[in-house]
Symmetry: C2
Subunit: 344 residues, 2 copies
């Protein structure tokens, strides 16, 4: 954080909004009215509007002890854009509401918004509105993302077909291992503040957690190749959980192969170091923000050129269940061990 500390109360709510939006120019032709009125107006010119929202709460979804505010701002936007891409749509706008206690200075909020604007810039998205409020405790972030899609071109979770290939972008488990590392270092720091955190050679997994990207490139690639996924969603709770959503909503089963799961070398090394099973991290770790999609086997040749897409299995009849085949040749039922914020 910078050295100056400006109290938020010195600006007031409207002053803060003006301050935060002072340099932001809208880029989307669809933005008719932006920040500064009761509501924003968007014209998608005949396209359908896609909308998603996420609530992120300090201490539940993020830990400011090891999350730089700029990264947090960036990620808050990304996790919502990821949902829009997962509908095969293009994000056009976000609204950003924050609740902040007076422990945050204007400079701190500026850092957060730097990340927000960086994500808007990179993904060509306009900030269309929002709300700033005091909070009694902690930092609260609520983002809504709006996108557009040509009528009927959206892709749901429920429309996979038997025999479809199951594909996943990028690699899995890295964000979970990054979280494991940072939680470990936090614990060490709290016990012995003089010990410097040991993050050497862990850039990859830390980056996977703190600065995820939304897979616009995959959506663009599929469109270029003329591949329309039959079902799609983003990987936020862990791929086991996501596969079960697609299976249940499509009324099908699936077969997934351990040997096909994409796991980065750095993630494997980290898993080994922490005594964790890399496959379990890949299956159940969340927050990778990759895309999982199904597609017709006929489209297989069109995607092989893209090393960022792995075919990890295929859809089966519902009666066959949701199965995982280990490298050792054993078959397991896939169970969702995704993150449950309400559990203990």
């Amino acid at each position: 954080m910078s050295e100056t500390r400006t109290e938020i109360s010195s600006l007031g709510e409207f002053g803060l909004i003006n301050h935060l939006t002072r340099n932001f120019e809208t880029k989307q032709a669809s933005t008719v009215v932006s920040v500064g009125d009761d509501a924003a107006v968007i014209d998608h010119f005949g396209k359908q509007t896609v909308i998603t929202t996420d609530l992120l709460i300090e201490g539940v979804h993020f830990d400011l002890m090891y999350t730089p505010l700029k990264h947090l701002g960036y990620k808050s936007v990304i996790v919502n854009l990821s949902d829009i891409y997962a509908m095969n749509a293009t994000p056009t706008h976000i609204t950003m509401s924050i609740g902040i206690s007076n422990r945050f200075s204007v400079e701190a909020i500026d850092e957060f918004y730097e990340g927000v604007y960086a994500a808007c810039e990179r993904y060509n998205v306009d900030l269309a509105g929002g709300d700033t409020s005091a909070s009694q405790k902690g930092f609260i972030i609520s983002v809504t993302a709006i996108g557009e899609v040509a009528p009927g071109k959206f892709v749901k979770r429920s429309t996979a077909n038997k025999g479809d290939l199951i594909c996943v972008s990028g690699d899995l488990g890295g964000a979970f291992l990054g979280l494991t590392l940072l939680e470990r270092e936090k614990k060490i720091f709290l016990e012995s503040p003089q010990v410097q955190p040991d993050l050497e050679n862990e850039d990859y997994i830390v980056g996977r957690l703190l600065k995820p990207e939304a897979r616009k490139d995959i959506i663009d690639f599929l469109e270029d190749r003329g591949v329309v996924p039959t079902a799609m969603m983003d990987v936020s709770d862990g791929i086991s959980s996501e596969i079960l959503h697609i299976c249940r909503q499509s009324g099908l089963g699936c077969k997934i192969y351990e040997e096909k799961l994409p796991i980065a070398e750095d993630a494997r090394k980290a898993a080994f170091k922490f005594g964790l099973d890399a496959t379990v991290c890949a299956l159940n770790g969340g927050e990778d923000y990759e895309l999982i999609f199904t597609m017709s086997q006929d489209d297989y040749d069109k995607i092989t050129i893209n090393e960022e897409i792995s075919v990890i299995g295929y859809m089966t009849d519902e009666e066959e269940g949701c199965k995982f085949l280990s490298k050792g040749g054993n078959t397991f039922n896939i169970t969702a061990q995704g993150w449950n914020a309400f559990g203990k």
Copy 2:
């Protein structure tokens, strides 16, 4: 609250979402995809999309000691619909995200959603998605409302003209007086729990605070009469603050007459009882969720039939400033004393 207490953790996040949305049927033809996917898809069929969002935080925006959860659910929706109407648009969808600590049972959340659904029902709005999350402390509500408007028919704050009449719907100050009453009763209760709250004859002001409505009727009336406001916004922070927004954004001044301010008889009585000036309550009290709008003097005859619309003044040149004329014949500068959550 009901007698049974079901822990939220017994349902999990997806279970809770399924539980909360189990009886909800979409009504809007524009709803293409609703709850249950990465994002919702809406087709406004050539109309423009209007979007607004609000973050409501326990202890900052509401006090559960005197706010029934059902009313809170209702009001959370209403305050957002009010913003959509204030753009001269029709709300079609909301997303609702909540953050809840484990002090809330499933039954308590059900009560909240009863209010949410009642508002959706009354205003013909679909719940299109949302998020449920754990919170570390208190109840957090984030609502986004989406609406539609014929291209170019939206009404901004910045487009008032010199000489336009300034109109306001309903009456002012009631919600603030309701809040004053409930805060007073809360204080008495905390000091002497055996004293029963004295809310007799205060239904009106309490209702203004706890169960506001959005002024769809006014928007419908104006459309019927062929009156297009030149500028409009909703009254959430107090009419002084709102008038200043319209003046500043339109580059104009205004003259407001005390004698024209609509104040309900019950609000006057309550103000007298509390030793408050009813006019000050009307000017600076927030949360009335009425509409303030400007319109051409030529349209005056078209609105006189509607007793729910008061003409309170007119727009002037910027140089004349924003003036308030008291009944006693004195002129004051209007200042925004609206609610500032970041104060103190």
